[in-house]
């Protein structure tokens, strides 16, 4: 009788796995992937798909932030449905009419910074990492004496949607937290895009700074904050070289 261990041919180079996160030395059933390695892959893909497709629970996120004494306001892009959002990045970069009307009601007194949080391509990333990161960010901004309005939460937003919000508030710094396209090994990766003096429709992606790969096995919150503060200070220096 065939034993269960005979059914899968292992690879004797398992020890090489310590050099790479790649899926090496998987072994085989016949010439194909074994049930175990196949299901491991399916698990990773399921996590990534859910990160893209499950809606971000914005009210839970708002509660998390309010508990930190951070006020929030809810905005949305022109992509009304998720499938639309995925196929029309141009609509994800523009505020919906309702959100534009909402902003128009508010005075646009000069602020220094605006913080925008968008679901992007991983709701898991934002649900998990946005509030803990903002908890570190707020004291750092306060220590610099920066003024900022309520944190803007944006449904179905792409990076460039922050430009219109920053311009409305006349904020020099736009700090955008957004869910990154999930990989199999990182379904919950958050990115931070930092844009200085954003101009809607004019600013290009090349003019932004990106701090990428913020998740449990990637960049930590404090590492990300150090990079962000460096960018903030550097932008101020470049902006006022003569007086500094």
């Amino acid at each position: 009788m065939t034993t269960k261990t005979d059914l899968v041919t292992p690879n004797p180079w398992q020890a090489l796995k310590r050099f790479t996160p790649a899926r090496i030395a998987l072994g085989r059933a016949g010439m194909s992937q074994s049930t175990e390695t196949h299901l491991n892959f399916q698990l990773a893909h399921a996590l990534a798909r859910d990160a893209v497709n499950l809606p971000l629970d914005f009210s839970a996120l708002a509660n998390d932030l309010n508990a930190l004494n951070v006020s929030t306001q809810m905005l949305s892009s022109q992509a009304s449905q998720h499938a639309h959002y995925l196929q029309r990045p141009d609509l994800g970069r523009k505020l919906s009419q309702a959100s534009q009307d909402e902003l128009a009601k508010q005075t646009s007194a000069d602020y220094d910074a605006i913080i925008v949080v968008a679901d992007g391509l991983s709701s898991t990333a934002i649900q998990t990492h946005a509030a803990p990161f903002i908890a570190l960010l707020m004291p750092a901004l306060a220590a610099k004496g920066y003024q900022y309005p309520d944190v803007c939460l944006v449904k179905h937003g792409r990076v460039a949607i922050g430009d219109a919000i920053a311009a409305h508030y006349s904020a020099r710094f736009c700090i955008m937290l957004i869910g990154e396209r999930p990989g199999l090994s990182s379904p919950d990766s958050m990115g931070i895009y930092f844009t200085y003096q954003a101009k809607p429709g004019v600013t290009t992606d090349a003019e932004r700074n990106c701090i990428s790969n913020i998740h449990g096995n990637g960049l930590s919150y404090s590492q990300a904050l150090i990079k962000l503060i460096y960018l903030l200070e550097h932008a101020e220096l470049l902006a006022y070289p003569v007086w500094d």
Partner: protein, 467 residues
């Protein structure tokens, strides 16, 4: 003006470019560009109009003006009127019929290739079903050589893609060894560097050259850095087998990639001068993919499938060893789901083969596309039936640097079993010689590591990660 009356509706299309766009089977990128058919009926009307367009028309009505685009100039200036003659009297619809007929055999198709333009083959693809795309492409034979022979009948090659998130040499080596022991790597051992600079690229190139030399592997190496990085490496006497570049089908899109035809020619001449191929001098490796021109805002109102075919005119000017359509990498705003990805991969292969190119396909998807492993198996199987030249080999199908899913070493073995597709002959001999494959195109049943690799494995195991 192009007109059709269909189901009591009169359709008018202003120009050939519009007919082409409206006739294209539905895909998200053409909707994003605002040029797709607005109904099924409009699409079929455009297809009927397109079927009646004489092939000659494509030589006089440029979709992107000759004066303003060097890719158009290349297409028109390089067109071989003699090769075109046997079919010059046909319409697009006639040409589809001719391709499906027994008259169109491998020899005829090879002789015809220089007489075809990308627009002619793209137009024909729009009138074809999946089975037509498979049947005709299968008849095309394109053979290229560097250190082995690619594109022979009943063979299919693999690019071993051992990427690592930080270009760690031990990590890359671990994936290469894994791939070789699964029989992967005859098309090329090709690394996408995480960091595109001269130092990182040179380190990887030197490592690959040493590996191929030490184990006498009948294959070629490539680091998929920007062409200017590779040119710098060549100037510093770093060993370069294949020069890589991503290319697109319009001058503006190529400008956004930081290239033009003159730069590609400079790189081609530099690679030729190294004379590193021992049985042939096809020394370029190009990658393409539908949607890249739109993403660079350089599509000129032309549909993404036609622009993709125009990129093949750029490729064939430099006699490449390999051309790879990276079909599902760009994301759902260009190809939304498995259905769109599958069709695009087969269209690209069909167009590339008719134009005389050694077409491979990175059968792949991202996690925000509506696609999964089942969709990849559909394209994988159909691509092999169509006689695809090569596919990717990525450990477990999971590229941990580029964060997308491609095909695994196991996927290639599935096709080898199912369709008895063998690797390139020189590489197959090497696999048999070292006990990796048996004589029946299967992995050897033993689980021992071949003796040739044991010292290298020991050395690797004694190392620490270098990052």
């Amino acid at each position: 003006m192009y007109k059709a009356h269909i189901a009591h509706i009169a359709y008018q299309f202003n120009d050939l470019r519009t007919v082409m766009a409206k006739a294209t089977p539905a895909r998200s990128g053409d909707y994003l560009a605002g040029i797709a058919a607005e109904s099924h009926l409009e699409r079929v009307a455009a297809q009927q109009v397109l079927a009646d367009v004489p092939l000659k028309r494509f030589l006089t009505e440029a979709l992107i003006p000759y004066e303003s685009d060097e890719v158009t100039r290349l297409i028109i200036d390089q067109h071989d009127a003699n090769a075109f003659k046997p079919i010059s009297h046909l319409t697009v619809g006639d040409f589809r019929n001719w391709l499906l007929s027994e008259q169109a055999n491998s020899e005829q198709l090879a002789a015809l290739a220089p007489g075809l333009t990308p627009e002619m083959v793209a137009a024909t693809a729009k009138l074809m079903r999946i089975q037509d795309l498979i049947l005709v492409a299968k008849k095309c034979r394109v053979v290229t050589r560097f250190r082995n022979t690619l594109g022979l009948a009943n063979r299919m090659a693999t690019r071993l893609q051992p990427n690592h998130p930080t270009d760690d040499l031990a990590g890359v080596a671990a994936s290469i060894l894994d791939g070789l022991l699964y029989g992967s790597g005859d098309a090329v051992i090709g690394i996408n560097p995480a960091t595109d600079n001269l130092q990182a690229t040179s380190r990887l190139l030197i490592m690959l050259a040493e590996l191929i030399e030490r184990y006498q592997i009948p294959t070629q190496a490539c680091v998929l850095a920007h062409v200017t990085t590779t040119l710098n490496a060549i100037e510093r006497n770093i060993p370069v087998d294949l020069v890589f570049q991503s290319i697109a089908g319009t001058e503006h899109a190529n400008t956004s990639f930081g290239i033009n035809l003159a730069l590609l020619n400079e790189a081609y001449q530099a690679a030729l001068s190294l004379n590193r191929g021992n049985i042939g001098q096809n020394c370029m490796y190009f990658e393409t993919g539908q949607g890249s021109a739109l993403s660079a805002n350089a599509h000129h109102g032309v549909d993404q499938q036609t622009i993709e075919a125009r990129a093949y005119a750029v490729a064939r000017h430099f006699n490449p060893l390999l051309v790879n359509t990276v079909v599902g990498f760009i994301g759902p705003e260009y190809l939304y789901d498995g259905k769109q990805i599958i069709r695009a991969g087969l269209e690209d292969h069909f167009c590339g083969k008719l134009l005389g190119l050694p077409m491979g396909c990175d059968i792949c998807y991202t996690n925000h596309a509506e696609a999964d492993q089942d969709d990849m198996d559909m394209l994988l199987s159909q691509f092999a039936l169509a006689g695809g030249t090569f596919i990717m080999g990525v450990p477990g199908a999971d590229d941990v640097m580029l964060n997308y899913q491609s095909t695994s070493f196991h996927d290639a073995l599935y096709l080898r079993q199912l369709l008895d597709l063998r690797p390139a002959p020189e590489f197959e001999q090497w696999l048999i010689q070292h006990g990796i494959f048996d004589h029946n195109n299967r992995l050897n049943s033993g689980s021992d590591i071949p003796s040739i690799f044991q010292p290298g494995l020991q050395k690797l195991m004694s190392q620490h990660n270098d990052n």
